[in-house]
Each structure stands twice: as structure tokens, then as C-alpha cells.
């Protein structure tokens, strides 16, 4: 339904999040897409269904999210630039293959347009897959970089970044959006960047003229598997060192700092505007990489703040990482669940409570 309005190059286009992310992947040179219909990300699949075959690229609607992610695994093993997208319940089904791909060190970009849970939950927007994305999905000692856009334009940029991080570190990367980021329309300037994609000679092409290669996660001898794990952890340390991202708004004089990502950060922005109009100096710390979590930067910001208020579309997940990062600054939380979105008014109320319950910074 979007992009019915043609515009001159570099003029912004009004684009739906799901479709903008699909286009961004295509412009990033995505070779293959696999998916399964689920609200609220179906438009992404539909967009790829139309555009990928036109470009002679691979599109398969799989029999399940399990099928989709494993097709992604197979295509990624050949060095292809692969996108898979889903929403929360589908992400749960993909957990197994995520673990295999982390173990096999395969690059892939996975978009989760989160909806309310647990179980079948609702199709409303949610951020209740934070734990899943940053701490878990599958079994084993592994981490996956998680990028969270707070606007459609940022989602477009992060698609290219996500591919690049995936290839650079041979790792799955999750772009964690929510129903609002998927369903809303915002202006996007159609300027894309081609991510660096270097497979460096591990990809399967058929063993013509070289030694055979095997892409696998199985290392049955404990000594060998431990070596593999140590190497993975070294990689994760490098990612944590180099790929931590966050953004701040109005932090310079902020006494109360909201910590929020994605749609919650947008709500926070409105709340901060209102709070400041009422004389309360609030600011925003917005993690963009949820793993690696910007703990050090947050701790520095917290050191100057009277209180922190974490806002999420969840019962409180990222707040745990905030509490781990922050030293003595009190941390408050406001969240809505089930597809409900916190209102700016609620957030302002919470800011006032935080103000009332804390003392000025010495």
C-alpha cells in the first residue's frame, strides 16, 4: 500500500516500516529472503515476495518459521546475504537454528517485529522479547548483536549495519523492532549504503580446486568444543568493544534520565518535552545496541543524574541491564504490556514520582 507516491531521488518517501526494512535489505544486496506469514510483520514478507523474484533473487515462503530460518541457515552457509523476518511467536520457533548458526558462525540478519506475549499473546506492539533477543533464544553460550531502531529511517540504516556486523563477525544479528515500527509510516530518504560483505573463504561453494569445507557447530570432544567456545567469547568481547551504540537527547542538564529504546524512546521524547515545559529537566538515554548493552556510557550518564526511569513496552526486562550498569542512582520503571503503549502522560507522572522520591545530586 505504500510507495504509491513516487518521489524524485533524495526526496523523502512516506514508507511503512515493514516495507522500508524490506527495501533496505534489497538495496543492501540481500540475496535471499525466507519467511512465514505472521502479524505484524506480514508486509515485509509480502514486499519481498513481490520484489525479490523481479530482481532474480531468492524468495521462499516456508512451511513454518522453523523451515524459514533453516533455509536461511542453508543459504547463509553458501555465503549468501540472507534476511529472515518474523514476529515474536515465530522467533521462539527460530531459537534452535539461531543457536546452530551462532555455533556454526554463520552471518544472517533476522528482523523480529515484536508483538505482545506470552504465548499467542496479541498482535499489538510490544518489547517483551528483550530477554529473548539479548539473553537467549537458543541453547548454549552465545551472544547475538541486537539493534533496536527508534524510527523507520533508523531501521533502514540499521538493516545495512546489521548485514555488515553479521559478515564482519560471522554471527547472526537481530534487528529488534516492534509492531509500531513495523506498521507506522514515516518519511524515509531513499539513500542506501551497500554494506561490506566479505565471506573470507569459509562459504560452501562446492570443493572445486580446494580442500572441502564443513560448516558445523558439532565438536564432540570437550577440549575441542571448549576451544571453540573460547574463540566465540573472544569474538563477543570484540563485538562488545567495537559495536556498542547508543544515543542521548537533552542529557547535558538532565536531572532525571529516561532509558528507553525503540518505540518507548519515542514516547519518552514526548514525555521529556512535556516535563521540560513543566520545569522538570529530563533527558533520554537510548540504547541502540541492546546487546552489547551500552553499560559504560549509561553508568557515566547515571553518575550525574538524580534518578533513572526505564520505560518499556514490557513488564520490565531491559531495566535489569540498567540496574546492573548503574551504580547508586535510583532506577525507576514504567512499562505497559500486552500490546498497550505507555502514554507520555504516564511517563511524565513517573518522572515526577522519581523526582519526589529522590534527592538532588550532591
Amino acid at each position: 500500500m505504500t510507495a504509491t507516491i513516487p518521489a524524485a531521488p533524495s526526496r523523502p518517501r512516506l514508507m511503512k516500516g515493514n516495507e522500508a526494512m524490506a527495501d533496505a535489505a534489497i538495496e543492501a544486496g540481500c540475496d535471499a529472503y525466507f519467511g512465514y506469514p505472521i502479524t505484524p510483520q506480514a508486509e515485509l514478507l509480502e514486499r519481498m515476495a513481490r520484489r525479490m523474484p523481479e530482481l532474480g533473487r531468492v524468495f521462499v515462503q516456508a512451511e513454518s518459521e522453523i523451515g524459514a530460518i533453516n533455509m536461511g541457515l542453508g543459504a547463509a552457509a553458501t555465503g549468501a546475504k540472507v534476511l529472515v523476518s518474523t514476529s515474536s511467536p515465530g522467533m521462539s520457533l527460530m531459537a534452535e537454528a539461531m543457536s546452530y548458526m551462532a555455533g556454526s558462525e554463520l552471518p544472517i540478519l533476522l528482523i523480529n517485529v515484536m508483538r505482545g506475549g506470552p504465548g499467542l499473546g496479541s498482535i499489538g506492539p510490544s518489547q517483551s522479547d528483550y530477554f529473548q533477543a539479548t539473553k537467549g533464544h537458543g541453547h548454549g553460550d552465545y551472544r547475538v548483536p541486537v539493534l533496536a531502531p527508534a524510527s523507520i529511517a533508523e531501521a533502514v540504516a540499521l538493516v545495512a549495519d546489521g548485514f555488515e556486523i553479521a559478515a564482519r563477525y560471522r554471527t547472526p544479528v537481530i534487528l529488534l523492532a516492534d509492531g509500531i515500527m513495523g506498521q507506522a509510516m514515516e518519511p524515509v530518504v531513499p539513500e542506501y549504503r551497500t554494506p561490506i560483505w566479505d565471506t573470507k573463504g569459509w562459504e560452501l561453494t562446492g570443493a572445486a580446486g580446494r580442500a572441502p569445507r564443513v560448516v558445523r557447530s558439532l565438536h564432540l570432544f570437550p577440549e575441542e568444543l571448549e576451544r571453540h567456545n573460547i574463540q566465540l567469547q573472544a569474538k563477543y568481547a570484540a563485538i562488545a568493544e567495537r559495536e556498542t551504540r547508543w544515543a542521548g537527547e537533552e542529557l547535558d542538564d538532565a536531572e532525571i534520565v529516561i532509558v528507553a529504546y525503540g518505540t518507548a524512546a519515542r514516547v519518552a521524547r514526548t514525555a521529556i518535552e512535556r516535563a521540560r515545559a513543566g520545569g522538570l529537566r529530563a533527558g533520554l538515554f537510548r540504547p541502540i545496541s541492546l546487546w552489547p548493552f551500552p553499560s559504560r556510557a549509561l553508568a557515566a550518564v547515571a553518575a550525574n543524574a538524580r534518578a533513572m526511569v526505564v520505560v518499556e513496552l514490557s513488564a520490565g526486562q531491559m531495566v535489569e541491564d540498567v540496574r546492573l550498569a548503574v551504580d547508586r542512582t535510583p532506577v525507576f520503571f514504567h512499562g505497559r504490556t500486552g500490546g498497550m503503549v505507555p502514554t507520555p502522560r504516564e511517563v511524565v507522572d513517573r518522572l515526577r514520582i522519581a523526582w519526589a522520591l529522590t534527592g538532588a545530586r550532591a
Binding site: E63, S64, G67, L73, T205, G206, A207, R216
Partner: protein, 262 residues
């Protein structure tokens, strides 16, 4: 098989070039070694080694990639047909086969094999059916015969509790996306030759872009069955083939050719 004269003597039997010089971890009397060899011979004969990407599954054959001199990707349990789909679609010129056991293909991986077949993916499936979960200690598989004793059906498989053996290759043969489906075994050189012919037809079917091809190979698990290797072969011949009959189940190209009268 190579029969090049060397120093006045003819080599009548040797390791296929695409089998690595490595002892397998398979138990004595296990059929995997024979099936690996037949596949390696065929890949040699069809000159497919340089373009093949194998898809390994989970089960005893999980280490298949150690024994073939070709590119291989591991897949999660049962997902090999989905992984193979991704490989084949991303690399249309690759020759792609999966190597799956009966637990992998006929239990946990039913959705993946059925839909790969429905899509008519240009892949070949080597389906090794020995009616048991060998790797995990001999538990009942979906293909286990009625009355068969396993570690998870200690009193024998009872249909009232555990249902019936699945003739999954026949089920798959119903799908128009399946170009070729057949069942062979490895109980004696004659049967091995027939199975090799089936696999050749399956591989050629993929090369011709006809659709998914599958060859079920009835194999043995002497350790899991509690039989000697010889007894195991006899068990396949006498008991297993009665439930899973040997032969070509569907060959859509030949069927079409016959219909044309040519």
C-alpha cells in the same frame, strides 16, 4: 569403479576418491559405511564432487562430513530439507543432497521433508531407515516394526500405544513435486547394485531439474537390534522388507514418457 591397469595388475576395488582416508565411527555391521561408499562412487562417476554441497543431519550419520571429500553443512535435527532448500536456492548450480536417518526424516523432520517435497525442491534425499534411534541408544523410531523391542519399547512396539510404522516414502511419492522415489537395501551385493542404480537415477533427476528425489535405503543396526551383523542382514531381508517393500515407488519422468507412448 576404477579398473585402470597398474604395473600389469588391474585394480578391481579401491576407496572412491571422494571418500576420505579415515576410519568411520560406525559400529560393526552398520549399513552407513556401505551407503557412504555408494554415494561417493556415484559422485565420482557423475563428476559431481566439485559442485556438491552435502547436508548432514542429526543421528549416527552426523559425522558424514568427515568421510566425504566434499563441502558439507550441518543442520539441526530434522531440518536438513529446509537447509538444503536454502543451499540449492542460493546456489542454483550446486548439486545438493541430504543424508538423513529415519528419526530425523520421519519423526522430527516430517514438516520439512513434506514441504520440500511439495515445493519440488531440486535436491536428492538419501533416507537411511534402520528402524531405530542408534545414536541415542536404540530407542523406538517412527519406522520401528510392530512388536520390535527397543530401549523405549521394551515390550515390543504396541500399535495401541505407539501407533504404526510410517511408510513415509510412499506418502511422499503422492506429491507431484517428488520426481523419483524408491526403496532399496544393502543386504547383499545384488541389492547394493540395485540401490546404487536408484541413487544414480535420483541424482540424475536432480541434475535434470525434475524435482525432489528420494531413495530410502533399508539398513541395519546390529547393536541397537541386539543381533549379529549377519543376523541383521537376514532380519532386513525377512522382516523389514515385508513392511517396507523394495522397488521404485514413483518415477514421474518415466511415467510421463510411457504416457506419451515413446
Amino acid at each position: 569403479m576404477t579398473t585402470t591397469p597398474v604395473g600389469g595388475r588391474r585394480i578391481v576395488y579401491q576407496r572412491p576418491t571422494l571418500l576420505t582416508d579415515r576410519s568411520t565411527h560406525y559400529c560393526p555391521g552398520c549399513g552407513h559405511g556401505i551407503i557412504h561408499r555408494v554415494i561417493a562412487e556415484l559422485l565420482d562417476e557423475l563428476q559431481l564432487g566439485p559442485t556438491t554441497i552435502g547436508v548432514a543431519s542429526v543421528g549416527c550419520s552426523v559425522f558424514a562430513y568427515d568421510y566425504f571429500g566434499i563441502d558439507f553443512v550441518e543442520s539441526p535435527h530434522g531440518r536438513a530439507p529446509a537447509v538444503a532448500t536454502g543451499v540449492r536456492r542460493a546456489r542454483p548450480n550446486a548439486f545438493v543432497f541430504t543424508y538423513q536417518g529415519d528419526g530425523d526424516l520421519a519423526a522430527i523432520g516430517t514438516a520439512e521433508i513434506v514441504h520440500a517435497a511439495a515445493r519440488g525442491e531440486r535436491i536428492s534425499v538419501v533416507f537411511v531407515n534402520n528402524g531405530i534411534y542408534g545414536m541415542t541408544g536404540g530407542q523406538m523410531a517412527p519406522t520401528t516394526l510392530l512388536g520390535q523391542h527397543t530401549t523405549s519399547s521394551p515390550l515390543g512396539r504396541d500399535a495401541a500405544v505407539a501407533g504404526f510404522p510410517i511408510p513415509i516414502t510412499e506418502m511422499l511419492a503422492l506429491l507431484p513435486g517428488v520426481a523419483y522415489a524408491a526403496r532399496g537395501t544393502i543386504t547383499d551385493p545384488g541389492q547394493i547394485g540395485k540401490t546404487k542404480a536408484m541413487l544414480r537415477r535420483a541424482f540424475e533427476s536432480q541434475l535434470a531439474g525434475e524435482g525432489l528425489s528420494i531413495v530410502e535405503v533399508l539398513s541395519t543396526c546390529p547393536v541397537g537390534w541386539g543381533l549379529t551383523p549377519t543376523e541383521s542382514m537376514a532380519h532386513v531381508t525377512n522382516e523389514v522388507t515385508a513392511v517396507y517393500p523394495l522397488g521404485v515407488i514413483v518415477d514421474r519422468r518415466r511415467a510421463a514418457t510411457r504416457k506419451d507412448g515413446s
